[in-house]
Symmetry: C2
Subunit: 159 residues, 2 copies
């Protein structure tokens, strides 16, 4: 991790981290202040992937035994967003990256009884535009849902 | 509406409807039995579009003032799914259609202070495979988020 990236995250005792602004955010996905949210935390894993792991509450199901496809999209959006934010070129501002495109392929059902494990990594950076791929994987590593995404870093308005 | 379709929906006094199985479903999007869900209802609008309208609870925000992109995906998944189900060829079973692909383009923020209006219509049917386009629109008709999707009708297992 570069110093740039270390400046932007807060790491917990268990090795997981959140992006700074998540500490005070109400975001349904990553906001640590949202008691009804998923309060996702992240960790870095091998080969440049960022990972999040969450037990999804039962009321966020589609059919009774599976995680709703839109909630899968929420989790993948979040982990891809963290990968995008951490993948900004050295010297970038910490202005947030927002989703431009998210393309999901639902390959296998995602059981709601298990932890959902979602991973993402940057596949391309052009200035403020970042491409990220992601996936939800089963305990034995099978890809259940795959995603490609494009991100744009917001430009801070003049003070 | 054909008789086939009328058999599969339950219409309320206000002209909105739900697909039969939603009455007893816990689905986060359309399940009328899920008190923590969006409990989406639908209506048919001009030119073959199906529409849903919902005020999204504040705790489902991304940044504070906007609907989380994953919740937008949830709502679009639902309205596209209803369009797919109702777009099955005459004589089809009522086995559910499941999402195979969902590709979202986030063009403008979706304010959480307003009703979210999402619309979908079938663009192609090949046997049990259905293509559906959708959009979230502003009060003046601007497309805020656009989606294309592919669906597959499940095959009922032998009795």
């Amino acid at each position: 991790m570069t110093d740039d990236r270390a400046d932007r995250i807060r790491r917990g005792d268990d090795g997981t981290f959140v992006v700074d602004r998540s500490l005070v955010s109400n975001c349904f996905g990553c906001g640590q202040a949202n008691e009804q949210g998923l309060r996702l935390r992240f960790r870095e894993v091998d080969d440049g992937w960022v990972e999040t792991r969450v037990r999804v509450p039962r009321h966020l199901c589609g059919m009774d035994t599976v995680v709703h496809g839109g909630i899968q999209a929420t989790i993948l959006d979040e982990v891809c967003g963290v990968a995008a934010q951490l993948g900004l070129p050295p010297g970038s501002t910490d202005d947030p990256c927002v989703t431009a495109e998210l393309s999901l392929r639902y390959q296998r059902p995602v059981p709601i009884a298990d932890d959902v494990v979602a991973q993402a990594r940057v596949t391309g950076v052009e200035g403020r535009r970042i491409s990220v791929e992601g996936r939800i994987v089963s305990p034995d590593g099978e890809v259940l849902t795959a995603v490609t995404s494009r991100w744009a870093q917001l430009v801070r308005p003049p003070a």
